[in-house]
């Protein structure tokens, strides 16, 4: 019983990181921009929040938890949105190839992240390991009365507020895309920008906004990763990159529907951590288990492609630049 609870807890923490990544990427892709810079943008969000928190904690005697949260949050979101802005400028305004730009952004982000991560570790002195304990603690605060409800508390109420925010965000995004005029317009931009343009929708504005806000949301995945998942520390181990790619896979797995990320992300989490909880696995067979999330993404791709249901396909214009006077 305890094993299952602890597996599920690990899965939910893990899932929250990639849920943010997927939600941001879904918003981006709905505008027809295939941003493969998700891992890089997660890095940007992670390192920016860590840097912000580090300097705030260093500047004051007793860090205020609320300010800690705001500083880290704003830093993560802005830095990631800036990454989205770079991507937008290159692909929307200059109409550069989206795949190349995205991959470049991934390399750029991980470089920036690891460079400043190393610098921060050095700045922190001591054991050579940065720790923003106050901010991390603020992010991991839960409601004690609920968290101590035994198994139920452990399973449902033992997380920081970001874990719940991700779920709420998924629901809000789903509602936005399907129930609002603006969401309808955004989907039209991703499906058929020519049509959207002819309908009087500002295609460029929608693409820019959804890509930058989407990137900001991806950055929150990085924020959650450093503040909650690794408890306010930095390690140059490339884990974020792996998580970023899983987030991209999750977008496909959910067939571009935000609410599906809720269970999809946790399922990926379970599959990812299962190898630690299954008895009798060697180091090699553990690695095989880590493939599972990617494997089921491929299976989902096969099934959605076989069924050819139009509603489950990626936005029709995904990956293509739009130019009004192109014939």
């Amino acid at each position: 019983m305890n094993t299952i609870v602890s597996l599920l807890q690990a899965a939910i923490c893990f899932g929250t990181v990639i849920m943010f990544g997927s939600l941001g990427e879904i918003l981006t892709e709905k505008s027809g921009n295939l941003n493969l810079g998700v891992p890089g943008i997660m890095y940007l969000g992670a390192i920016a929040s860590l840097t912000g928190a580090f300097f705030y904690e260093r500047a004051v005697e007793v860090p205020n938890p609320i300010v800690c949260i705001i500083v880290a949050f704003v830093c993560a979101f802005l830095a990631a949105a800036l990454g989205g802005l770079i991507y937008s400028f290159l692909t929307i305004t200059l109409r550069a190839n989206q795949n190349v730009t995205g991959l470049a952004l991934t390399i750029f982000g991980s470089g920036i992240g690891n460079f400043f991560g190393g610098s921060l570790n050095k700045l922190a002195g001591g054991v050579g390991q940065i720790s923003v304990s106050a901010t991390s603690a603020a992010y991991r605060t839960n409601i004690p009365a609920l968290a101590s409800l035994g198994t139920v508390g452990d399973l449902l109420f033992s997380y920081g507020f970001l874990a719940y925010s991700a779920i709420i965000l998924a629901v809000i995004l789903q509602w936005y895309l399907n129930r609002t005029r603006s969401g309808l317009n955004l989907r039209a931009v991703g499906e058929n920008p020519g049509t959207a343009d002819a309908a009087g929708i500002n295609v460029t504005k929608y693409k820019y906004l959804s890509t930058c806000i989407g990137a900001g949301i991806v950055g929150l995945g990085g924020l959650y990763y450093v503040m909650d998942y690794t408890k306010g520390t930095w390690a140059n181990d490339g884990t974020i990159e792996g998580l970023g790619w899983l987030a991209v896979a999750l977008v496909i797995f959910t067939t571009w529907k935000p609410v599906n990320t809720i269970w999809g992300a946790y399922l990926f989490g379970v599959l990812y951590w299962m190898n630690y909880y299954l008895p009798g696995l060697t180091r090699y067979s553990q690695e095989l288990f880590k493939m599972l999330p990617y494997l089921i993404t491929i299976i989902v791709l096969i099934f959605t492609s076989l069924r050819k249901k139009k509603e489950n396909q990626p936005p029709a214009n995904l990956g293509l630049a739009y130019f009004r006077e192109e014939r």
């Binding site: 309808l184 020519g194 049509t195 009087g200």
Partner: protein, 510 residues
């Protein structure tokens, strides 16, 4: 209502160029409320470009546009909507995965909550007013072409458009659908709307419009009252030179059977029998016309012969080799083998780039698509395809900056010339063309007819699927009529009457 019609749009000295190509030069045009104006011109004469400047897709290089006698600047489609101008494009601007209602409200800024029920109610109201028939909840990808067009019109009306521009609205419709469209257009005119139809079909101009404006090679020629115009006078203004009005038709005595089709049945993936036990012969030195309302199995018939369709058991398509006289069974072989035997198909689909050409490639490369495997060496031979491309460019008067310009940049009619020209140039034994002149202007159409006649004289068995009955009756030696996937009759093209063929086209046999 005053007798003097109110001016809706006035264009003065409007000019638009694309690079070195002048699409519109110094155009003056007057569009009035309560009136249907036809914009007539050959392919590539700049009709669509001109109207795109009203709908905000393009911005004029020079000139002034007045809406309701006020000078305006239309910078984007949104500006056009604000000025109550709505355009129905030839290639529909619809999102496939959206419902009809979603497409209608797309981009609208009505304020208030986005209420699907209210939208559906207003859509039904418009439908009832003008006589449209669409379901607001139907997804666009499951609609027919005619339904999509209806949706486009409802869309602009929902936005309160008073000036409607329709770009070649009848190009993809059946006769009945065209009649329905015309009655809707008349309803809109009675309602005081200004309607512009871009077209090159003279009978439609005469049937539905009040005035005709004519463009030729990007220049404005004249505007005439429809009641004073005749087909001959309009043709002359449109093409600028006299067009040979009768199509040559030689009788070739020496005929030999090339194709023998027996019991050809095709069931489509939905389980519907689209071709039912088709049997006929095709002879060399003959043009066999296939008439029928669109979607009666013409496409499936040609594709079955070309090896692109799955046929039901029992079907037989025998090809008689002109050299050896041997009969060869085509069912069960590959499309490539069938091509090598000399059976060629050029199918012009509703969207011309959809089949047979690669939009981002130039003419030369498109020529290579069908015979790149002929070469012996490792590297591609570009010389012959380039010569072929240049010949087609010259003979069919394709308007393009060069043989290496991506065909996507060519106007629709020119794309089609490339498509048809390539198949004819391959010197086939059996040449099947479907809708070879779809969307082409008169001059080019005649060029194509002459090419087909030449093929016939050379002993090719030509199968011509057409839409225009007059052309079929004047071009073809025999006409086979399809209705609902069955042959309702094979008539002699020289003696048959239009009424006779028309009757066969709607004769459903059980």
């Amino acid at each position: 209502m005053s007798n003097e019609p109110k001016s809706a749009i006035r264009m003065e000295g409007v000019t638009k160029t694309f690079g070195s190509v002048i699409a519109n030069q110094n155009i003056n045009l007057d569009i009035r409320y309560g009136e249907v104006l036809s914009l007539l011109g050959e392919n590539g004469s700049g009709k669509t470009t001109l109207m795109n400047m009203l709908s905000g897709i393009y911005f004029p290089d020079a000139g002034q546009i007045y809406v309701n006698d006020t000078p305006v600047t239309i910078r984007s489609p949104k500006d056009a909507y604000d000025l109550k101008i709505g355009m129905i494009h030839q290639h529909f601007k619809l999102v496939d995965v959206f419902t009809a209602a979603e497409n209608i409200v797309l981009g609208l800024n009505e304020g208030g909550r986005y209420d699907k029920k209210e939208v559906a109610r207003r859509v039904r109201e418009i439908c009832a007013k003008y006589g449209f028939d669409i379901d607001p909840e139907q997804k666009v990808y499951s609609m027919t072409v005619s339904q999509k067009q209806t949706l486009e019109i409802v869309k602009v009306l929902y936005r309160g458009a008073d000036i409607l521009i329709l770009d070649e609205p009848t190009a993809v419709l059946t006769l009945q659908e065209i009649e329905k469209l015309f009655s809707v257009i008349r309803n809109m005119r009675a309602d005081g709307k200004a309607v512009v139809i871009i077209t090159h079909k003279l009978n439609e101009v005469l049937a539905v419009s009040d005035r005709v404006a004519i463009l030729r090679h990007g220049e404005y020629i004249a505007t005439v009252e429809t009641k004073d115009a005749t087909e001959a006078s309009l043709t002359e203004m449109m093409v600028g030179k006299k067009v040979e009005l009768d199509i040559a038709r030689d009788l070739i005595e020496d005929k030999a059977r090339r194709l023998c089709v027996r019991d050809l049945t095709v069931v489509n993936p939905d389980g519907i029998t689209v071709l039912d036990k088709i049997s006929f012969d095709a002879y060399s030195g003959e043009i066999l016309g296939i008439a029928g309302i669109s979607g009666c199995g013409q496409k499936e018939l040609l594709e079955s012969i070309a090896g692109l369709q799955r046929t039901e058991a029992g079907a037989s398509v025998l090809f008689t080799d002109p050299d050896s006289g041997e009969d060869k069974q085509l069912i069960g072989t590959t499309p490539k083998k069938i091509r090598e035997l000399g059976v060629h198909l050029s199918f012009v689909p509703e969207d011309r780039l959809g089949m047979g050409l690669v939009g981002s490639m130039g003419m030369t490369e498109n020529m290579m698509l069908k015979n790149y495997s002929d070469g012996k060496s490792l590297f591609l031979d570009r010389k012959q395809p380039r010569e072929l491309a240049e010949r087609i460019l010259r003979e069919l008067e394709v308007v393009t900056p060069g043989v290496n310009t991506p065909v996507r940049r060519l106007s629709g009619g020119n794309v089609q010339k490339v498509l048809v020209g390539r198949e004819i140039a391959a010197a086939p034994t059996v040449l099947m063309t479907a809708y070879a002149v779809r969307g082409l202007d008169i001059n080019t159409s005649y060029t194509i007819y002459n090419l087909l006649n030449e093929q016939k004289k050379n002993g090719v068995a030509v199968i011509y699927v057409g839409e225009d009955l007059d052309v079929l009756l004047q071009l073809c030696d025999r006409i086979m009529v399809l209705c609902g996937g069955k042959i309702t009759g094979i008539v002699d093209g020289r003696t048959a009457t239009k009424e006779q063929v028309g009757a066969l086209m709607v004769k459903h046999v059980d």
